[in-house]
Point group: C2
Chain length 411, copies 2
Amino acid sequence: MSLIVMKFGGTSVGDTDRIKNAAAKVAAEIKNGHKVAVVVSAMSGVTDQLITHCRAISPRFDAREHDAVVSTGEQVTAGLMAMALQQRGLNARSWQGWQLRLLTDSDHAKARIMDIEGDALRARLDDGETGVIAGFQGVTEDGRITTLGRGGSDTSAVALAVALKADRCDIYTDVPGVFTSDPRIVTAAQKMNRVSYEEMLELASLGAKVLQVRSVEMAMRYRMPVQVLSTFANEVGSELPGTLVIEGTKDMEKNTVTGIAHTSNEAKITLARLADKPGVAARVFSPLARAGISVDMIVQTASEDGQVTDITFTVAMGDWERALKVLEDEKANIGFEKILSEKNVTKISLVGIGMRSHAGVAALMFETLAAKGINIQVIETSEINTSVLIASEYTELALRALHSAYGLDAA
Amino acid sequence: MSLIVMKFGGTSVGDTDRIKNAAAKVAAEIKNGHKVAVVVSAMSGVTDQLITHCRAISPRFDAREHDAVVSTGEQVTAGLMAMALQQRGLNARSWQGWQLRLLTDSDHAKARIMDIEGDALRARLDDGETGVIAGFQGVTEDGRITTLGRGGSDTSAVALAVALKADRCDIYTDVPGVFTSDPRIVTAAQKMNRVSYEEMLELASLGAKVLQVRSVEMAMRYRMPVQVLSTFANEVGSELPGTLVIEGTKDMEKNTVTGIAHTSNEAKITLARLADKPGVAARVFSPLARAGISVDMIVQTASEDGQVTDITFTVAMGDWERALKVLEDEKANIGFEKILSEKNVTKISLVGIGMRSHAGVAALMFETLAAKGINIQVIETSEINTSVLIASEYTELALRALHSAYGLDAA
């Protein structure tokens, strides 16, 4: 008998019929002899509605009150799911963050989990009761409700699986698993049966929206097997129907490149002819951080004369104008000659373990893109990914060509 | 400096603009130098939507899960109201039932308040913070959320006022106060400035829907002054703008009859020629109670021969058919000759302290109705009310004639 945490996202519990459908999947796992703790998101659209109410009341709302309001979405689904399980003759009850207690820090609206006191829940699971846990929420030491930030229910589920020493954490979504590339663009993309934590972390960070990055980090830290599967298509109980995210092994994947991710809607900014001396990067990026602007790729080229250098980085399109303004305001302090910028660029990333140690992996990427006449604007590499920045209009062409070149296409 | 509990019902917080309007009333009381604890209902329509979800999941839902789901409505309003007060520069925070803690028994969906641990809230009120409390909800000793049943937010407010030793509990509604009769029917009806607990209790029980009966009982038990006033019309801080429900005094009202209530949608059932011996009433009403049917008026006439008697009682129209079926099933056990029944009857009730001790009060009622040709089907009296049952088609005529006969019409 295994203990499984099953997490259902917003579309999987989008209305009462879908909650009943998800309950059927839980019942099937229990019939298979497993103990189950269920983690649920808010019904799709509910959280956005609640945030709209908050904004209508006050443009600068209190994050503590925001959390008290927004956490109700998951509370509702948890109660309804418990009812749906009872309707199937199962013994079930709902648990809110404060009832568990799932303790977080007091960084409201983006709180981090500190501890889960799962003893009461574990005892009831052992007694044959199914627990339904409101995802996305926790409670501070002094009893205020917190939320974990967007997508936090994935993190709730993995953290609960770790706390309960579960055998597996199943994340039910509206896609059948993790693909070698975006299947909406690359029709030859294949569902991966297995992927390592490290690769999944890169894929999640690089735009594959199947799992929230924080949940993958936590699964990797505690070596918790995570399975991504569809609420709508996969059969319960069949052999690994989705994608299993587990510890990497040598024979796990024969390809060095396991997936190709992309992030669109980026903008590139280059500060040209900066003084090449200590502290210059801090003078560029600290003001951006203070303005709440996240920077993605950062590349600094070696200067020819040791006197001046260029720094190129990317920001989300939505932050582009604000970033330019911040940099212009800081021009005297930073000391650059001019700003060059380009909107509508896309980052294409190859993901795979041991990429640097395999000769020719990056070279094949550059050759493939060159053969299609696609100009590479920026290159960035790590042990596990090789990323290039290209004009967005070439996104589909580049993804398909690389997917084929690295032997990922379905037979 | 007074401590006031201000309670806002569903229409008073029906959307975010109305929440802002209610927040302005709270701010005005604080500006007047008062400490304020605010109790809020769910935004109108929200509770019904949540109940619809529960019913869609399961026709026989678990009351504990129902409470977890339905209590979110008040949680949302409490957070939004706290934000709205902060937006006005006030120090405010929301409190849910389990945060207070407002302890109830575990009779879910209709729980009764056992205790309110208001020390933390009181300390913060003394520090100048305004507390916004989610109405209608509490928590059991073992940490499950409960709700108090329909209209429970009034009861939350009065109970909190008692626990905090508040000076007054103001109930903001969508009407300007308590009227001598239903102003939609009796255009000459007047807003009462004051009414005693006892009279208010009768009026609330007899169909005046301004205050929930349980909240009036609690106010009477602890002698808590309650003021009913409109969120939309009354001026904050003016001299007693609504209706004050307080301890009765001799000079409080010169009329013996202070108000005329009515309850429509009743049905009358008569069991004819029952054996007139001990235990017969129990054999009639116990089966109805087991079937969850509430009985309103009960009148048993003295039998002529000491052998047989008739029992007449009223039930809500919605329970009429079921009640008849229960009685037919029990016919052998009860032992009656036949059932007579009539749908569409209305109870008209005169309310006033010391009614029995004033000669002629009831007589004037009977004369007034006779003069209009209205037949009285059943009469029931108590120290504080005199009620008659008439055909519903005469409701408006009877109310207006009695309102005028007892000198209640506006000048």
